[in-house]
Amino acid sequence: MPRPDRRENDQIRALHSILGLLNRVDGSAQFSAGSTSVYCGVYGPVDVKVYDEKLDRAVIEVKFRPAAGVSGTKDRWVESAVRGTFEREILAQMHPRTLIQINIQAREDDGSADAAAINATTMALVDAGVPLRDMVAAASCAVLADGAAVVDPTLEEAAAAQSVHTFAFAGSDIGRAGSGGASGSTSPVYVDSRGDFSVADYDRCYDLCLRSAQRVLAFMRTAIEGKIAKESQISVV
C-alpha cells in the first residue's frame, strides 16, 4: 500500500533545523520533519529555588506547549518523556544547586511530534553548551492495519494505525549498532509504545527506528558541525 505522501516504509520526511534562533534563552533550536516542527529553548545552568534545589546535581525542568489549543495531560506526558530521557544524558553533577530548564513549543504537529521534541531538545542543549554525556536521536514508527511498519508516521497514518512506537537512542549506542554490533543489544534511552502489537511488531519497529535515528543523528551532526565551523573560521588577528 503506498503511503499518502508516497514515501517508502523506511523513509523519514525531509529534516530541517535552525540553531540559536532565539535571543533571550541560553540555547535554542527549531527541528522539523516534514511539516511537524518544534521549537526548544534552554536556560542553564541558572538559579533554582532553595526548596527545589538538589545539593549534588542540577534540577532538570521541562515545559511543553502544544501547537494549538490549551495545554493538557497529553502534554504533561511529553514533558515527562523528555525529562526522563535527558535526566540521564545531561551531566547534572557538574552543576549542583542549579536549574536546567527546557522549554518546548510545538509549531505544527503532523505526527511524530514527541520524536521531534526530543530531537529539538538535544540540539537546543548542545546550542546552550549544557554538558551532555551523549547526543540523543529519536524516531517514531507505526504498525498499520495491513501489518506494514512505517517510519515517521504522519498524523493521519498514526490515527489509523494499530500501534505507534517512539524510540530514542544515545549517539554512541547508535554508532556502535551501525558498525555491525547485534542490533538487539542496543538499549534505547526512551521507549513509548501504544496500541495492539506483538513482540514481532515491536522488534520490527525497533529496527526501523534505530536506522532512522542513525539518519537523524547524522543530520544533527552535520547541522551542528556546520555552525561551529562557521564560527571558528573567525581568526583573532
Partner: protein, 275 residues
Amino acid sequence: MVVEIEPSNIEREFLLEALEKGIRVDGRGIYDYRTLKITCSPTYGLVEVQLGQTRVLARVTCEVTRPFPDRPTEGLVQFNADLSNLAAPGLDSSSGKPSVQEVAVSRMIERVIRQSRAIDTEALCILAGEKVWSVRLDLHFLDHSGNLIDAASIASIAALRHFRRPDVTIDGEEAIIHDVNERNPVPLSIHHTPICVTFGFFGSNGDLMLVDPNLLEEQVQVSSFTITLNSHREICALSKAGGVPLAPSLIQRCTQIALTKVDDINDKIQEALMA
C-alpha cells in the same frame, strides 16, 4: 527559577542622555520601527512575525460548534496568548496562573480584534441556532525583546487574513461541510484590519517619545501608549494604562505618526500574504 534582571544605572542614564539628543541605543531614529519580517507558512493560518528580535507565532484554527443562545446567527472568536519562559526569563508562575504580562497582551489583542468587530461573525454562521464556526487564534511568544503588543497585532491580523476555512453549502435544512481536499477552503470575512502602534515615553514629564520600544527601552520607560488604527484611518482603540500623565497634544502627535506606520505595516502584511 529563571529571573529577569533590572537594567543597571548606567544603561538607564545612558538611554536618557542619548534620547535627549534624539539617539536610540540600537542606532534607530525615534520614529523608526525595527526590521519587520512576516513569514506565512504553507499551512493556512500559521504566521510568524519577527519585529527586531521579538518573535511571535500566530495560529488560526476553526471548528464547528453551537452558537450562544442569545446570538444564534453569530460565530465565535476565541483568543489565547502564551507568554512563557521560552520568550523571556521569569514569566512562568509556579501556580500555573497566567502572568500579568500574558493577561495584558491577551486582553489587548482580544479588545483590538473582537471589540472592533474586525471579523465578520455573521459570516461564520452555518445554520442559525445550530451550527456556527468557532475561530480560535493562538499566539505563542517565542522571544521577548520588547513591544510584544505590536508584534502580536501584526501576527494576528496576518494569520486571520492568511487562514482558510472549509467551504460550506447550505441545502435547505442541511449544511454540507466540504473537505479541504475536495473544494478549496475559503478566507474569513474580515471587515477591517486593526494594527497596534506602541509608543514609549521617558523623562520626568514623559516628554521624550519613541516608537516601538525595544527591551531596554520598555524597562526604562515612564509611560506607554498604544493606538490601534486600521487601513481606513479609523481609530479602533487607545490604551494608556498608568504611567506618567501625558499632554493631549502629545497624544495627537502620536496619532499622526501612527497613521504613517500603519500604512507601512499593512503594505508589508499584504506583501507577505502574496508571497
